[in-house]
Symmetry: C2
Subunit: 285 residues, 2 copies
Amino acid sequence: MDMELWYTEKHTETTGITIKVTDCLLQEKSKYQQITILQTPHYGKILLLDGLVMLTERDEFVYHEMITHVPLLSHPNPQKVLIVGGGDGGSVREVLKHPEVEHIDLVEIDQMVIDKCREYFPTLTQGLSSPKVTIHIANGIQFVKNCRSDYDVIIVDSTDPIGPGEGLFTEAFYQDIHRALRDRGLLVAQSESPFVHENIISPMYRKLKNVFPVCKMYLAFIPTYPAGCWSFAWCSKGNLLSDRPDEKRYEKLQPKPRYYNPQVHRSSFSLPNFVEEMLPNGNSF
Amino acid sequence: MDMELWYTEKHTETTGITIKVTDCLLQEKSKYQQITILQTPHYGKILLLDGLVMLTERDEFVYHEMITHVPLLSHPNPQKVLIVGGGDGGSVREVLKHPEVEHIDLVEIDQMVIDKCREYFPTLTQGLSSPKVTIHIANGIQFVKNCRSDYDVIIVDSTDPIGPGEGLFTEAFYQDIHRALRDRGLLVAQSESPFVHENIISPMYRKLKNVFPVCKMYLAFIPTYPAGCWSFAWCSKGNLLSDRPDEKRYEKLQPKPRYYNPQVHRSSFSLPNFVEEMLPNGNSF
């Protein structure tokens, strides 16, 4: 009988998910982190960084649609977009569905993430070769420090605040992002799971609120992330509304999103009471 | 070193969750099913039926608030409520927060579920002793067959459609429920996870649609259920709206719900595109 191989990711000390693995396609250490790619029967290929699931072929559409279409359709005319992290290409793929976008800067610290994803995840990385995209292999913190009022939308598609992602959860970084945005600019950043990471979320939103006049949380169902519930911070310099997605531009997105639609967009900002309570002033600030 | 005991529940053949266990408090076979109660560090006590998580002390509030307050606050004056299943008492506890409710019939097939939950889950079962509650140890299908226009709200708080819960997913049962409801009556039934159970959901909603003129799905985040995403069917005889929760009655609920609020109520009916597509006519039927 063949060996049964199961990957188990602990989401807390005493809870986790477990996924049967048919093959370990890659396990390699880059300058920054351990990169692993597993083949699985249920989720297809899975990308792990430092042993944690970053994406699976089966459910990555939720994360990538929700981290991109929510800010892009909240903005009246997103021409220039910055993505910090996201070397897997999934966010770029979705941003490129918006014809208004003229240019995307992708700042990924780890060249090897891009190289290996190009090799193993062609359905995610196809957009990285677009003439609209410039890839910068650089530290996102340094990159943003040197930007001045350049971007309509900045997307922080980061890992958890441990390891290379740590500096992307500081107030100094949020101030640099604020400066890097145009007047009507928007920031969206992944912000962990309210069921598991209250200790990260509360300080993160306090810092965001110190920098941005409007800061809201929205939620999505992502089965392979802790608790199956993931949050995103939506921060504006002050003159955009989170609940007015542009329905006409949505109708033109091709191929049609599988998770996102304008109703889901508006609804994702409705927070359960226990989540409201971990934000400085609920979702009304 | 002490033994490390982990409970693993498979949600598909090749995926699941795993939870560290400090103690197996109960493992007993009733006439209908295997009843297990585990003590765990993260989720507190867990109730399993036939080896599947029914509830945990940590996250049961989501399920029980969402299966009760959504129908009860959609209804203008819910006086008489029937709960099919729900021997753990969680749904009764939430329904009793509504002062309009004069009487609750709870129909649980398995006396042992009630007895063991009274012993191990006092925070769930407290309401079962209320003078407003009548417990019927009976087959829910038989019970409903004999009802005529009796109830304002019927809640099907069932297990999966395997084992004792199977007959609760048939069109004949839905017809009996329709007959058991008053003219403005509402049915809410748990309806599995859209990320995992499309094969159950599609036929279930087709059957419901054959019986009820209005039938919609709503969603909630439940970390210990498959994919962390759970759905409920909301079915009305025709003259109520799903998106008009009574905000004044919500304000009076004591203690205040931890998940449910009127905004979450309305938003929970917004379905991702891939979920809309597994329903006979999306959420607009």
